[in-house]
Amino acid sequence: MSDLDDIFLDADDFNSCLPLKKVPYGDVFEASRAGDVDRLKYLLESGVNVNARDQWDSVALYYACLAGHLDAARMLLESGAICSEHTFDGDRCHYAALNLKVRKLLKAFEARPPPLGPLQAALRDTFLACWANRSFLEQSEGQVPISGNSENGGSSPSHFPPDVVFYVQGRPIEAHRVILTARSPFFKKKFQTEWKDRKEVRFSREKLSYHALYSLIHFFYSDRLDIAVDDMEDLVRICKVCKCRSLQKVLEKELIHQKYAEYKALRDVDNSQKRFILQGISLPEDDRLPNALHKILQIALVNSNREQNLKLDVDGLICLVSSMQISEFEEDHADVCVRVDKKIFRCHQVVLASRSEYFKARLSRMKDFLEGRGCLPDNALPCIEEHDLTVGAFEKMIEYMYTDGLKDIDPDQAEEMFDAASRYLLFPLKRVVADALLPHLEMVSPAELCHWLVLSDMYGVIKIREYCLDAMACNFETFADTQEFRAMLLTLPPPSGDSSLRTTAPSAPGAEMSTAEGNVLDDLREKWLEAEAAELDERDESALLFDKRLEMLMHIAEQERANGLECNESGEQEPI
């Protein structure tokens, strides 16, 4: 981020060189050309591909640069538009930049790769953490590989062991079967037949380029293709074999571009430096990583269910039958079973470990703890058991782990999902659940909002917490009348006496605490002050007023609780 802040753009820099106009119905290209930031924002949020090309083979960033719309360009870049000078599109943007400011902006973004989704980033890390793959990366960056870390095996925290190694032109690439199976029909077939039990595969064909295959496998993991232009033809050939049709199509089209862009080769002599970067979002949705993993997950779930039924039906003959069954059901390459509340899920270690540190530690620690001892008899897969978790929540969670998204979620499940997300260290999941939950909160009772506030504070779901606090601050009187609200006050830690939070005096630098860990009541007071829009110089008094108010409410609550306890003792009747 810091390099972004470094480029100094004056406010008047954003006074565009061309008059801005509104294009309320325009597409992303029109919006970029017109500099209509609102429209552009809407389009980007709706998930349009920033790196798509229009009928003139231009990308949106190109138009923004050409017209000198700095803020539009910045918005596109922040959404992951490619601007590396080594690429066809990026080079064109640099070339077309209207003025130095635009160029500066492009330069500032050039060093940073566009952001990856959490799933892609996690799998990419797993891929790059494999020793052989990392050494490639280091070589290409001209660094000396650090030999010490290489032999740590599975116990190293940043490493999840691969289950297949390819040797191309004598150099190894490490990978995981399930990912390759998910992404390419060719690998899927091979892993079911010839390579079923093989740990390493040696390609002896001279023509197979290491760099191209590396780039492709990297793409399989990260949904981002980054390849030298020189290797692209090799990659097209490999795609043909691997039956990655849509990627192949895009590459073939790009090759034509590169051919026509040959005049640029004169300028930068070293053509191998020129690279082509492709974001997964440029491919049809069906061919992207989440979908591919989703398919695998479906298969695995079907298999899990089948096994479950089988087990219930014929408990004794399980070994025999399952071995027969395996050939019948579709291979899912599951390598671990997770038992949740009597149900067994077939899962993939690589996905679990990549997404969750908990599972990574758990899976690599199997030998050290009790879990390594007993294997369930139904098959050879290792089995781990998770307690305090419902089947439904686990299903949702693995859906998220595999696909980075949740189809639909029941607000009833939300709480449990928050718990699972915290427990399995899947912090982005909280956001997803929160997004799904927010619309429901608009029509819940104050009592329920109190419940959500407590929950969101506990699990650190900022979005929900903010929402609840806002609602309470704006409707403070309503809440003050609610018994649940008063009861809640008792469970919360008392407001802090930190004057810096309640006065207008600036707090000491570094003394701020992140909102997630802040005191709920302090934050509520702040919100209330904001909502009441008290004069600045009266803030302190208003805050005091609020504190007094709270104190009173708490007093009432305490009385109520005493009554409630009596009530509970006397009868089973629950009020409300």
Binding site: S155, E357, Y358, A361, R362, R365, M366, D368, F369, L370, E371, G372, R373, I384, E385, E386, H387, D388, P411, D412, E415, E416, D419, S422, R423, L425, H440, M443, V444, S445, A447, E448, C450, H451, V454, L455, M458, Y459, G460, E484, A487, M488, T491, M513, S514, A516, E517, E574, I576
Partner: protein
Amino acid sequence: MSAQKKRNFQIEAFKHRVVVDPKYAEKTWKILEHAIHEIYNHNASGLSFEELYRNAYNMVLHKFGEKLYSGLVSTMTSHLKEIANSIETAQGGLFLEELNRKWAEHNKALQMIRDILMYMDRTFIPSTHKTPVHELGLNLWRDHIIHSIKIHKRLQETLLELVQHERTGEVINRGLMRNVTKMLMDLGSSVYQEDFEKPFLDVSSDFYRLESQQFIECCDCGDYLKKAEKRLNEEIERVSHYLDTKSEPKLTNVVEKEMIESHMHRLVHMENSGLVNMIVNDKYEDLGRMYNLFRRVSTGLLLIRDVMTSHIREIGKQLVTDPERLKDPVDFVQRLLDEKDKHDKIISSAFNNDKTFQNALNSSFEYFINLNPRSPEFISLFVDDKLRKGLKGVTEEDVEIVLDKVMMLFRYLQEKDVFEKYYKQHLAKRLLSGKTVSDDAERSLIVKLKTECGYQFTSKLEGMFTDMKTSQDTMQGFHAAVGAEIAEGPSLTVQVLTTGSWPTQSVNTCNLPSEILGVCDKFKTYYLGTHTGRRLSWQTNMGTADLKATFGKGQKHELNVSTYQMCILMLFNNADRLSYKEIEQATEIPASDLKRCLQSLACVKGKNVLRKEPMSKDIAEDDAFYFNDKFSSKFYKVKIGTVVAQKESEPEKQETRQRVEEDRKPQIEAAIVRIMKSRRVLDHNNVVAEVTKQLQSRFLPNPVVIKKRIESLIEREFLERDKTDRKLYRYLA
């Protein structure tokens, strides 16, 4: 969304039911504490990871993070105290092993604890700014084990002792050492530096100070260096085996300082084995070792270079000023070359072809070669010798090598114009007498001179070659035109030399015999007929002739003589006895030349075609000469050389010197004028400096001479003195 469903709603979250139990935290912590104990006791396989993690997670979630964390600290601390006890009680050599074993165990346990407390590590610790679990474990280990009073000192001493053992040649357990030092590094580089590296360096320093003192007392320079090198390599190896790589520069620094820097001067000047001795005896290996070791010390190379330079200057000075050596110029130059070769080889094989050393060598040579004013002459004589006979049967490459070496010496010369003068003379002699062995070699040398000193320097030399070529063509034309007429007479070969290109010689024509004169006149008319407006004058002092003579017993010989000698011998066609005076009158050869000719004709044994009365070595004015009837020789062809002084005699030298000085005058003047023309106004010192700079490639002008030239130019009104500042000169034009 149906509000019905959630009607039965509780404030307490569904997890809160566990908190209802007031002893919840206590109970959960007991479970975790038990687990930590079990992990330390290697009983972890009885624990459920999932359960432990879940418990730790719930504790943090329900705000018992603080309890969990402090519990962890106290539990770990108590375990470490136990460990410290067991390490302390370990006996002698087992101490390190025990420490290492416990460290490995602690590490493993720490990782497992970190994993089960991962949720705390991720959420609670960053938000409360506490030390992460792993780091906490290391810090506790550091505080309770490494810094515990009983262990700290013992550990340090044990480590240093082991290193000391290894230095004295014992075998130690390097793996153990590596593990222990790695542990110190894992605890933080400051721990490693404070608790091990610093005392280690101190001990090393003491050790090597002592050892180097011992060595220098009992070893000669070469042996000492060998030992120092061995020690240095040992230390580097030690670092690679069990120390942090960052220690390497520090450690080598200590060795360098103690073993080399503090004894540097003594080593270099060591009697019978120091640097000079090594150079004299060509001990490349020792020299190379010295270079490599001294290079590590800041002033080491400077010292070597200084000593080497002064040594070379000393040797060279002896060489060029030794009067014995001056007798044989060829040998003199050969010695210089040998000296240069020797030192070149030392620099290339021992001193890594160090540029600064090469420069030092060059400047030393430049220094002492110019100590001897006759060096230019000698070098030219050396070339002359090589080109006359030395290059016979030698391949082209070898010729090139010899010439390159000569050029190298030439580069050292300050008075390049003196060399040119001599070279011109010697070249003229070679060309005219047809003594040149290889035309290619001659031309190659000229090209080299040209690249070195520019076109002007060699234009006259090249002119000489052109003259030789055109003369050949002229002779062919002459024979074709008048060949028939002169077929009977003696055959004539004329070389037409351009005045100015050749070394000027006073024209002392002698009377040629009439037979020759006729042919000469024919050539003269032919030449002037084809080239109008030219003047021909005969340089009889430079010619040669072949005579056919019949002696007393009828034996015939062909005599190869100079033109002067030919003139003398021709007189004896008509007389058997001639006195010196008669010969002088008849030929009009200058007296000194005549004497030399007669000497070679009459006094050299085996070549005495004349007989002299009285028989003495020297020629006197009243001697008489007879045709020697009894002359005999094994060969048909007899070459009668003139007795030539190879080296210039003293007066000749003076003359050459004068000519050189004379030639320099216009050059200096031209340089002054060039400079003043561009500068307009310049003060005296700057003029002198610039003139020196401009003429450096040819010679080193004397400031006094420059001053004289300036004065002469002022007289001729090229320059004037500034009216106010007498030191300033103005250019007038």
